[in-house]
């Protein structure tokens, strides 16, 4: 038996993580923005687990990732591989490889289909083998299970309260992020928004840490859907933003961020700190939310079941379940958003995104964000939610390059759509940002022209608008909801609102 087992190459496999061991271990995870990561840590703590978000990846992690895994990786693979490797290397230097194996467990997504995103773990495993950390435990999250269990009764499986907590943490993290990016460009006291965000995240983390336990399955689900617990916590967070004074007459282009999931979600060196850079360049950032990605996944599952009737079992049941899930997600997101006075952006309807993208990209093409990138760009342009779309694509990303290519025809049909596809290699910052800046310059001109048009429509001069705004206490409050009056820019909408007009 030994001879047969070693005759051919097989990668070493880590031992299974038992439920008892999970209570002693520390879970590592990453790849989201810091607000959601903080809240997910609190969710683990709430259930008696220890969890730690890896530090945001850096350029040094990129280099390590390239060095330790196979050549030709897309940059998210290099960043995340190097990020994990560097963290563990430092820990191993401090406490030894065996202690690292015993203490930590890495939780990652391991199965999503054709794109190599579903094969990241191969890179992690290779990098860890190269570091002498083979058999380090890594849990691959599938949509419905952790595939380390092999059906073993004693294996750790995340229960529904953990999954629901993580989803609610992402939704709340998204909403605080949305609040932040709608506020900071207009704050009159520099730093006030950042303070409000930090306080809000602390407050929400406490709420998640002390989340009441309401059953393991249906009870937990019903409680999450019905409870005012999270809306109450978000209302408290809103009060932190009440103190932030804003000047909404600053004319700024709104830049919608889209792209590959990791690059559009993280905030740091993996995407050249593009969120902060755009703000520094005078833009209002419309961030990409994790909630929209979840909504897309449900839409994709639903349409797969619809189109594979006859090839899969229980298609009708799957369609119905996906429909219910999608409604629950949207209702929950809107309810939570309501606690922040609907200031963070809402979720575009997936049906509309699909319909808008249909002439250019088939809705079933999978991997990455599929048709959603095209749909979002047209949606933001058509409904005047942004002056410009900045799409963050990893160098050599397989699905993203195809949708970027298909955008050529979109731009032919919509020549006014400002679109900046940025290829992110991780170490070519000047090139990427200068490319973005070219389109941003045009977006600034659009925002200025739109503001002029708004003044004209409102029949006001700039001075009159400033005077009216100075007298309007609501308009100076960050938590007051400015209605969308048909302009993409905040300043133009503010002028139109004061005059009771629409563009």
């Amino acid at each position: 038996m030994d001879g047969i087992a070693t005759r051919h190459w097989r990668p070493p496999r880590a031992a299974r993580l038992t439920a008892a061991e999970a209570r002693q271990a520390e879970f590592l995870f990453g790849g989201l923005h810091w607000r959601s990561e903080r809240l997910i840590e609190a969710v683990f703590a709430n259930l008696g687990y220890r969890a730690r978000a890896l530090p945001t990846a850096t350029r040094a992690d990129l280099m390590t990732g390239r060095e330790l895994a196979d050549i030709g990786q897309c940059c998210p693979t290099s960043f995340t591989t190097g990020n994990l490797a560097n963290f563990l290397r430092e820990e191993a230097a401090r406490s030894g490889p065996q202690a690292v194996r015993d203490r930590y467990v890495f939780l990652t997504v391991g199965s999503c289909g054709a794109c190599r995103f579903g094969q990241y773990h191969q890179s992690y495993e290779l990098a860890l083998r190269n570091l002498g950390l083979e058999r380090f435990r890594m849990l691959l999250l599938a949509q419905d299970r952790v595939d380390q269990s092999d059906g073993a009764a004693d294996a750790f499986q995340p229960d529904l309260p953990l999954i629901l907590g993580a989803i609610w943490a992402c939704l709340c993290g998204d909403l605080i992020q949305g609040m932040e990016y709608r506020t900071r460009p207009y704050e009159t006291e520099p730093g006030a928004t950042d303070r409000a965000v930090r306080d809000s995240v602390d407050l929400l983390a406490d709420a998640f840490r002390n989340r009441p336990k309401r059953g393991e399955t249906w009870g937990a689900l019903a409680w999450h859907l019905a409870t005012p617990y999270f809306t109450d916590a978000l209302r408290q967070a809103r009060r932190r933003f009440d103190a932030v004074a804003v000047d909404r007459l600053r004319v700024k282009p709104v830049v919608k961020i889209t792209g590959e999931f990791y690059l559009h979600t993280v905030e740091g060196e993996p995407n050249y700190n593009i969120h902060r850079w755009l703000e520094a360049e005078g833009a209002e950032v419309y961030p990409a939310s994790i909630a929209v990605w979840l909504d897309y996944l449900i839409r994709f599952a639903k349409q797969e079941a619809e189109e594979r009737r006859g090839a899969i079992r229980h298609a009708g049941l799957r369609i119905a379940a996906a429909g219910v899930l999608q409604r629950a997600l949207r209702l929950t997101y809107d309810r939570l958003r309501g606690a922040l006075n609907h200031i963070p952006h809402g979720m575009p309807r997936q049906e509309e995104l699909r319909a808008l993208a249909a002439p250019y990209f088939h809705h079933r093409l999978s991997g990455g964000e599929g048709d959603m990138l095209i749909g979002k760009a047209i949606w933001a342009h058509r409904h005047r939610h942004a002056h410009m779309t900045c799409e963050l694509s990893p160098y050599s990303c397989m699905p993203n390059t195809m949708s970027v290519g298909a955008m050529a025809r979109v731009l032919g049909d919509h020549p006014d759509l400002l679109y900046a596809p940025i290829e992110v290699k991780g170490d070519a910052e000047v090139h990427a940002l200068s490319r973005c800046q070219m389109i941003l310059t045009e977006a600034k001109k659009r925002a200025a022209a739109e503001f002029e048009q708004a003044l004209k429509t409102a029949g006001m001069t700039l001075d009159q608008a400033r005077q009216r705004a100075a007298d309007d206490a609501d308009l100076r409050r960050a938590t007051w909801k400015l209605p969308h009056r048909g302009a993409a820019g905040t300043a133009a909408n503010a002028v139109l609102h004061m005059a009771g007009k629409h563009l």
Partner: protein, 366 residues
């Protein structure tokens, strides 16, 4: 039809399908093999994004069919092949096509429609349905929807029969090719000769993409097999993998989960299985790996494939980052190196691998 991407492994399905619908083979026009000349003449300026050559060159195939034909064509048919019929179906998680390969036609189409509709100008109907060839029961519906109104009088029943004929034609072709591969191995076993296995994607058979590297080796007297057409008959599978299956190391001879648990991609899965086959088959003394520049599907497989092959003592040579231009000089030097090592080591490799397998070899009975 553009002769690109997964058309290289499914063309017999399309010939069978259209033939059964009464469209004779001479009315089905494939573009020519890929070449730099073809790209210069028909593809230049039509690309909308930089990507791997197998996808990028599709613009030239479209252009050739639109503007390079003596006779006028009526339909440009370029299916979005979502998933693939695979010999590993049922043993792996999924059989998806690469995301670029499945979406490539959408990207290429954009290059011909961004200013104006050049398909309409060329008098062509552009038909590009999404087709799930790994789910045969859905294919008739997908193709009927695509051709309803284009092929006069087409009915769902006719489409269904034509799809069945397409799959039958593909199965016959695959069986024939596997039979030929087996025959090559039988000859090698009988004569104690080494052969070479090519691990690559189906479109590396295109002389403009794989650059015919394997031909130089074949010219030197080494028979060449492709991983897509390896024999699979039960006795041979049991001889190669049976002991490991019975020891619980693999669920079946076609199981690759022991080395590649994320088995989503059909072509990747077949490359991994081909590597396992090569590691066990005594007369495969050397493996040639071909990958195209920027291939994200191949990238995570570099180490596992090399490790699987080399752990068995089989020679492994990789031609990575293949692009539009044939690197003739470096290929010649590499081929000389490969021939040198094959000449020096093949006998020992065959003997060592043969000694690990049961004595009764189905390839050389008696």
């Amino acid at each position: 039809m553009p002769r690109v991407l997964n058309v290289w492994s499914t063309h017999r399905f399309w010939l069978g399908f259209f033939g059964a619908l009464g469209l004779p083979a001479n009315r089905l026009v494939f573009s020519s093999d890929t070449s730099e000349e073809q790209f210069r003449e028909f593809g230049r300026g039509r690309g909308t994004v930089d990507c791997c050559w197998p996808v990028k060159c599709a613009s030239a195939h479209y252009g050739e069919l639109m503007f390079g034909q003596r006779r006028k064509l009526d339909v440009l048919f370029s299916p979005l092949i979502y998933n693939m019929p695979s010999m590993l179906a049922g043993h792996v998680v999924d059989n998806l096509a690469c995301p670029r390969v499945m979406a490539g036609p959408e990207m290429v189409r954009a290059g011909f429609t961004r200013e104006k509709d050049l398909f309409a100008e060329a008098g062509l109907r552009y038909v590009a349905p999404l087709v799930t060839l790994a789910e045969p029961q859905l294919v008739a519906g997908q193709l009927f929807k695509a051709f309803d109104g284009i092929l006069p009088g087409l009915t769902p029943a006719e489409t269904e029969a034509a799809v069945a004929e397409g799959f039958a034609a593909l199965a016959r072709f695959d069986a024939d090719m596997r039979g030929r591969s087996r025959h090559v191995l039988e000859r090698c076993a009988a004569e104690g000769r080494p052969c070479i296995l090519v691990l690559a994607r189906p479109y590396h058979m295109d002389p403009g993409i794989g650059h015919e590297i394997e031909n130089d080796l074949q010219n030197a007297g080494y028979p060449v097999l492709w991983s897509q057409y390896l024999p699979q008959d039960p006795a041979l599978m049991d001889w190669l993998f049976g002991e490991e299956v019975r020891a619980g190391l693999m669920a079946s001879p076609f199981d690759i989960a022991d080395v590649w648990p994320s088995s989503y991609s059909a072509n990747t899965n077949e490359i991994i299985w081909g590597a396992k086959f090569a590691a066990r088959m005594p007369w495969i003394a050397g493996v040639i790996r071909m990958t195209s520049y920027e291939c994200g599907m191949d990238q995570p497989t570099f180490t596992p494939v090399q490790a699987i092959v080399e752990h068995s003592g089989t020679l492994y040579f990789a031609f990575q980052e293949l692009d539009s231009t044939k690197p003739a000089g470096s290929v010649r030097i590499r081929v000389e190196t490969i021939l040198h090592y094959l000449g020096r080591s093949s006998a020992g490799i065959i003997a060592r691998k043969r000694a690990l397998l049961p004595p009764d070899c189905p390839l050389a009975p008696g």
